[in-house]
């Protein structure tokens, strides 16, 4: 029982960041129809930014988190403006090839700048864990969970209550009509890619101090984000949120009670099964956003 409640708490803490990763990716796919191979690189970019600003430049940890988010948004915008804008109307495969090329450039640039040795980020949160009965959890994990939840809520709010969000939803439903109604599709694309990238970068910055920052940390994160997005249905934000938690629970329980080695396999097995039996994802009504 103690072990079970500990697993549940671990899964909850992990699920928040997974959801954050998934939402960014699903937004980009839903609105832009881009299978974004750079998502994982934005995640590791966030990790390196928090390392750069805290451990190297000595900036306050919390300020560094905001900087990582903002820089992630900027990098996303740059990728969209330089590469994706030219590819509007191109087929999905072509876009995918370009994004794979971009993934290679980003990852190896990171490796060139930072070297292959893993970086550790020290957080200012108390080292003594939070103890609730038989369960204990590091304060850092709690903090990460809270920030992730806030970012998810902020994204919801942005999509539901702002003019930009409205335009994004309109674009998602019918790009051509939205365009005719005066929505600037280019601007929407840039905003979407920047937002999604910012969320990935934030996830990396949040998990950097929990784990280690390495040039290849984004690879597995990207695959997991894909799994989450498929579980929830491509373009479905609520689905991605729930999908993030489902994946975290599947991994934690699988690792705890089946085999720790297959922890990372859980997500992939799940998406293969889901796609075989319910190809539109677990929560698909029709594909929709919001």
């Amino acid at each position: 029982m103690d072990q079970l409640s500990q697993h549940i708490v671990n899964a909850l803490m992990l699920g928040g960041t997974y959801a954050l990763l998934g939402i960014g990716l699903t937004l980009i796919f839903g609105i832009m129809r881009v299978v974004n191979f750079t998502h994982g690189e934005l995640y590791s970019f966030g990790g390196y930014m928090i390392f750069l600003f805290t451990s190297v430049l000595g900036l306050n940890f919390y300020a560094a988190l905001i900087v990582a988010l903002v820089l992630g948004i900027l990098l996303g915008a740059v990728i969209e403006l330089v590469l994706l804008r030219r590819l509007r109307g191109a087929d999905i495969d072509t876009t995918m090839l370009v994004m794979i090329g971009c993934w290679m450039v980003l990852q190896n640039t990171e490796q060139m700048i930072w070297g292959g040795v893993a970086k550790a980020v020290v957080s200012p949160l108390p080292e003594e864990p939070l103890v609730l009965g038989s369960v204990s959890v590091a304060w850092l994990r709690v903090f990460v969970f809270v920030v992730a939840a806030l970012l998810i809520l902020a994204t919801y709010a942005l999509i539901h209550w702002t003019k930009l969000g409205k335009a994004m939803r309109a674009t998602f439903q019918d790009r051509d009509t939205a365009s005719l109604m005066g929505v600037n599709i280019n601007a929407i694309n840039t905003a979407t890619f920047a937002l999604g990238s910012g969320l990935a970068s934030a996830a990396g910055a949040l998990l950097g101090p929990v784990y280690l920052v390495t040039p290849t940390m984004g690879n597995l994160a990207a695959l997991k984000a894909f799994a989450i997005v498929i579980l929830g249905g491509l373009g479905n934000i609520q689905g991605a949120t729930v999908g993030g938690f489902i994946l975290a629970f599947a991994e934690e329980m699988g690792a705890g009670y089946i085999s720790s080695g297959y922890r990372d396999a859980m997500g992939f097995l799940m998406i293969i099964v889901v796609l075989l039996f319910k190809p539109t994802g677990l929560f698909a009504r029709a594909e929709r956003i919001g």
Binding site: V35, I100, W103, V105, T109
Partner: protein, 344 residues
């Protein structure tokens, strides 16, 4: 000219070990050859059927592991007290089994490509490769996991009792790769030049039309997937018995990406494309090595791939062919279907 070119090319490749004695360059040529074969097999899916299968490395790895395990033997416990003990087979038999198992995986993926499409298909194929990697990593009793499968025997060919030859060293392995490559090339060529293949290629962009014209899309797609996976599995077998050690990292996404780059830069949907791409990206890293670190090289390749997609979307081979034609004053306009047909 066009008729004699392939023969000249084959003659040249056959003669390489006669004048190139540098062991390291031979080693590079062997590994380049193996990856070129995988690129050829990927091209069958990517170029000729338009299925962006990004888990292709799984077939390569499955071929390598199956062949290695069949020729090393294993002793595995399944549930309860049930055990599977396998006595080592000759490497060549293992190689054949590897092709078979990889082909079966290809069959599954081929069938799958009708259930899930586009982005979903891409992600399922990537996930498939990742699951296989994790199994190879964690089923330690069978695969040795991160300890790697070591001391894989080299190939022995010939007839027992009459004449036998074990492929130690570079030169025999070079010819083995060349032979498998030639067989693979002929197979792919026959498949895409068959009636159904030509029709499929011509109508790649328009599957409903193809179906309505009575072309058995299902059959061609599955056949292409099986042949493609089998060839990738054969390349995996060659790799395992030449390098003589394999570990789960053989399933990493980066190897699929390498194959994709070879196909896309060379020219997807052309028979010569993956050969050109394979040779460029097999040899280039060695040439660039003194000047650029591996990271810098990968950055260059990434940029290169983006540029190719933007400026030469059909790849190098078709671009060179067009240029050649315009220079020769050939007026015949390239027809999509014929483009793949008449040329090597």
């Amino acid at each position: 000219m066009r008729r004699t070119l392939p023969y000249l090319w084959v003659g040249f490749l056959l003669s390489v070990p006669l004048w190139l004695h540098d062991q390291y360059f031979l080693h590079i040529l062997i590994t380049t050859g193996i990856f070129t074969i995988t690129a050829m097999s990927l091209n069958l899916l990517l170029g000729f059927t338009g299925q962006l299968s990004l888990g292709h490395v799984a077939f390569f790895g499955v071929g390598a592991y199956t062949s290695a395990l069949a020729s090393l033997g294993f002793d595995v416990h399944i549930f309860g007290g049930f055990r599977i003990v396998h006595q080592p087979w000759p490497a060549v038999t293992g190689f054949a089994v590897g092709i078979l198992v990889a082909g079966l995986c290809g069959y599954a993926i081929g069938k799958l490509s009708f259930k899930v499409r586009e982005a979903y298909f891409v992600i399922v194929t990537i996930s498939f490769a990742e699951v296989v990697r994790l199994v190879a990593l964690n089923w330690v009793e069978l695969t040795q996991g991160p300890l790697a499968l070591n001391n894989i025997p080299p190939f022995t060919i010939g007839f027992p009792g009459l004449w036998e030859q074990t492929l130690w060293g570079k030169v025999p392995n070079y010819y083995a790769v060349l032979a498998v490559g030639a067989v693979a090339h002929i197979l792919i060529r026959r498949l895409v030049l068959s009636r159904i293949g030509r029709a499929m290629v011509a109508l790649k962009e328009n599957e409903p039309l193809a179906t309505s014209l009575g072309i058995d899309v299902t059959r061609f797609l599955v056949l292409a997937a099986v042949v493609s996976a089998g060839i990738a599995g054969a390349a995996g077998g060659l790799y395992a018995h030449y390098i003589r050690i394999i570990d789960p990292d053989i399933f990493l996404f980066i190897y699929t990406v390498t194959m994709v780059i070879m196909v896309v830069t060379g020219g997807k949907g052309t028979l010569a494309g993956p050969l050109v791409g394979g040779i460029i990206f097999g040899i280039l890293p060695v040439m660039l090595r003194p000047m650029a670190t591996p990271e810098a090289q990968w950055i260059i390749y990434g940029v290169f791939m983006i540029l190719i997609v933007f400026f030469l979307p059909r790849g190098i081979v078709p671009a060179v062919q067009d240029w050649w034609q315009s220079k020769m004053g050939v007026t015949q306009a390239p027809v999509d279907g014929a483009r793949t047909g008449g040329r090597l």
